[in-house]
Amino acid sequence: MLRHALFVDLPNFYSHLVRCGIGKTDMLRDYFLSWLDFDCLAGALTGDFCSVWVFHSGRRLGPSEARVDGNYLTGYVDRINSLRGITAYDVDIEGKQTELASYECEKCGHKGVAQWESEKGIDASLTVHLFDTTDTWDVAYLLSADADFVPAVRTLRRRGKTVLGAGFPSPSSALVRECYDYIDLRAAFVEEDVAAYELFRQGGLVQTWLAPPVAAQSGAAGPARTCNSQQSGY
């Protein structure tokens, strides 16, 4: 029986999720924070229970239009740590690390070079953990689109391990090439999960259907009226 494990590069995963096109950015941010359960995602991918290791920076997540930080990030990490089989690691390293990045203004075309504060330690920590735990898994699912993992995946496959990439469209082509397979999470799980979220979330379709206010149709009269919903599995 093959043993599975999931390794999640959370900043990379989240940034691609909120831009995957299933819905509006703020909806996908709320879905991520309140609904997406990595143990359910792991079950969908592996068909079994398995360990899920989530690596993140304790400072912030995501692009500016969907930034998660402060108490929201703390609350989110507490939530996923409470799920079965999931351990989230804050791999942030003290101190600032700045990197140079070139830019071009979309409006005026001005080109320049700027410094930005980069995240430190996530790729390296996840890679070290992949190698530290090789005795405990046969198949690893790497939830990232980052080409920095290519050397690690290549080495693990040389050692007889199966590493599958999983993420959203437009991953690194080098990573897709090195992985045993690359799973489109949107088609495999996320779209179905977001649809369920839109139905059952707080203030979602089902709750709104059942909840007040209810107005009478024009010209209608009469006292007792019902509005009901039922869910059933078959």
């Binding site: 299933i22 997406l36 059952f200 089902v206 009469g222 009226r225 509005c227 009901n228």
Partner: protein, 111 residues
Amino acid sequence: MRDGPGDAPYHRLSLTGAGPVDLSSREQLVRDFHAAFPRYVRKIDPVRATYQFAVSPLAWHSVERRLDAFGARLQGARIETPSAHRGRWTITYLYDPTAGGYVAVPFEPLS
């Protein structure tokens, strides 16, 4: 949509309404959902005020663990959960002349 032989069946969700209540804003929500997720809408029947949705077995795990919290938000609802895989929530609205509109009637079980 995995509907092939051997695949776990989809869960079915039905929304219904009865009586001369104005469901137009609610039906608009269904249309919005249908536009975004057409694969998960199985039936739209405004005449009978009946709408059916499909929830995949993969996504159902996330729903199932939140059903208690979901039911708790439906104040006034009669909630029946015959099994872990079936549920029914019903809310009855009565016209209240004092309030000038319909109000939810809290469910009171027979003693």
